[in-house]
Subunit: 415 residues, 2 copies
């Protein structure tokens, strides 16, 4: 593993100074190679699938593992989409002049070597490779063991693309073994690996965080709230909570809890409750919520102590009536996971206060929590989401895969 | 330690939303209290000094530990200087609009709780407290054990300042014990401590990095090079290497190695060598350097294998003649420590290439390496220097003590 990482380090040096057009050529060739080698990739994927099915993996797992012609085309298109994004390397982020005449610039440079650890989702292989390549980083890919044949076939295609553009193949390396020890060794290679990005369930991320000596971007759970302020447009609030909860309940930016100001709870909860129930959402309410909803004949269960702060990842929603914005903020500070928090309000001061006081990677005012996503926020694509504040907070796009150095121009200044 | 950190976490919540004027009032009161309690602080420092002297600490150590009236006044002024810097919290770093009408902003927020671990330099206590306070972070201070009385007296003054401004005293806490176990426990408090900044020698930083579960800003050694390109203004190059090496040889942004293009080595080395020798700098040269300098009767020793890449922190300079900029870049990639690298040149393409290809927290073109410093670069003050690329690279000022969240304004957008 050490020599693999050292090779990545060497490749990262070449990549760091590669001109944009060379990286773009590689990305174009990678997309081409994915299409040209579709048959080999789909065959390898079929083998992975057969084995996973024999091992009794559930449907959701198999669906994440599955590649078909259409998905492979989407994968190739994703590589092309990264190609069309602006190159962050060399971007001058800020600049100023010092009294002694020195001109100071902050300029983006790549991080170096990124270690990507992910579950059995073969599309992550090419996506992560594309994002790292465009941002000038070498990447070491360690995917789930059930996808190893698919990953190998994809990595072979990617390597063709790289060498067609004259970029060292070591810029994108798939870990050749799925042994646990190999992963542990990679996680210990301080000085060779600059950043580890784990992508998957909370268990995987905790495992990586606990065993890593290299820096890790942590993406823990998303316990996201939608808070309906007393001044809210209630029709808007209804659409937002429905979307936030039910459009795709299994993802981290889905809402898990609805907070409603007491002043509007009698009006809002019955109508929103009916819509949510019709969308098959199970409601678990605080005592006040239960009284209001039962009176309105909307199905509801009393919330258990563990329901607040819980990431259901399912069609279940905790609901609480709050006194005012102060209590809503307290609730979020206590139960939120710093992922995404939303307020629906028409009052400027409430929007400002919520935006200022909530600590979360994204704070939404009058918009669904579901927009906390690299694509939706305009980053083009994301390699992961950080729920800790170091280095990056929230979706990580190309820029978040870079660092900044000071570039100082003088004409002989000394101290 | 856990309850101390939990108290810091609570205080950080209050501090995160404290208005600038409240923080500024606290800083003003802290400076005042440092002056008002000067006698108690200097007495405590005298006790620390007496004990350290009895323990046989050397003069450099005692000098770093010493506070006198003048130094204490400088310390109070440093707190006031931080007060006058702009508040980074709430700064909108970037903003854009999405096709669906969402307005996206990136807004600075504090990191949370910062753990500062440092050696027996009591001035760091108030400096770190001021920088963390202004950037909205709670800080836990763990200074060297030889300075514990001084630190306690300073922390008492700071607490007066905080409470005079109505900020919880737990925003600035001195660890009440210098036990090793307590420090180890603090370093393990993932989730309560957001960032650890060690400040001191390489040994301290390695110890912290190896024992921390919380994120650490690493500041390893500074092996800085000055490269004299064939097109350099040789008089300027002479001033720059003299300043970079001899103005203050014991600091991390001092130069440790001079690289000279072969085309100008015969002209440059004798004159620069004479100046450096006159400044008592010992020269250790590659074989070519030795020949040139001996011919010019400038004292020089042959460099030993370990002299390149070594941080002398002393009046010693390694010298090497290189073929061209390519060889200089190779040398720096191999032996540099990503701290500060300088080129002296009149050729635009050489300056551009050096600026682009060198991976270092600061790259200087025609200026001394000594400018890689928060104050000199215009950050106002620095809490540390990062030589790793995660989160921050180079001097860390107030902005580097913040993270960024997405603040998104819509008018009912859903996905």
């Amino acid at each position: 593993m050490r020599s693999l990482a050292a090779a990545a380090r060497d490749a990262s040096r070449a990549l760091a100074v590669a001109p944009t057009e060379k990286k773009d050529r590689a990305l174009a060739e990678m997309a081409k190679a994915l299409r040209r080698r579709a048959r080999a990739i789909l065959e390898a994927n079929a083998e992975d699938l057969a084995l996973a099915r024999r091992e009794g993996k559930n449907e959701a797992f198999l669906d994440r593992l599955l590649l078909d012609k259409k998905r492979l085309e989407t994968t190739a298109q994703a590589v092309e989409a990264v190609r069309s994004l602006p190159d962050p390397v060399g971007e001058v982020v800020d600049s100023w002049r010092r009294p002694n005449g020195l001109r100071v610039q902050k300029v983006r440079l790549p991080l170096g070597v990124v270690l990507m650890i992910y579950e059995s989702r073969p599309n992550v292989t090419s996506e992560a490779a594309a994002l790292c390549l465009k941002s000038g980083n070498a990447v070491i890919l360690r995917g789930g063991k059930e996808s190893r044949r698919s990953n190998r076939a994809i990595a072979t295609a990617l390597a063709f693309g790289l060498s067609a553009a004259g970029i060292p193949e070591q810029a994108v390396q798939l870990v050749p073994t799925v042994e646990h020890e190999a992963m542990l060794e990679l996680l210990s290679l301080e000085g060779l690996v600059d950043l580890c990005i784990p992508r998957g369930g909370e268990g995987l991320i905790r495992f990586v965080a606990e065993n890593a000596r290299v820096p890790v971007v942590k993406h823990y759970k998303g316990v996201c709230h939608v808070y309906v302020h007393q001044s809210a447009d209630l029709a808007m609030a209804e659409e937002i909570i429905l979307n936030a909860k039910a459009q795709r309940p299994g993802v981290c930016n889905a809402a898990e809890c609805l907070l409603v100001d007491r002043k509007v709870s009698e009006t809002f909860l019955p109508r929103a409750g009916r819509r949510l129930s019709a969308a098959k959402v199970e409601l678990r309410g605080c005592p006040e919520t239960v009284v209001i909803l039962r009176r309105a004949k909307v199905p509801v269960r009393p919330a258990l102590p563990g329901d607040f702060g819980h990431e259901f990842l399912d069609l279940v929603l905790a609901v609480r009536v709050v006194r005012d914005i102060g209590q809503a903020l307290e609730h979020i500070a206590r139960y939120g996971s710093a992922h995404t928090e939303a307020i629906v309000t028409n009052e400027l001061s409430a929007a400002d206060r919520f935006g200022r006081e909530v600590t979360a990677s994204a704070v939404m005012v009058n918009a669904s929590t579901r927009f906390n996503d690299g694509g939706e926020l305009g980053l083009g694509a994301e390699i992961g989401i950080s729920t800790s504040r170091l280095h990056a907070f929230g979706p990580m796009g190309l820029r978040e895969l870079t660092a900044q150095k000071y570039l100082v121009h003088g004409d002989g200044q000394v101290r």
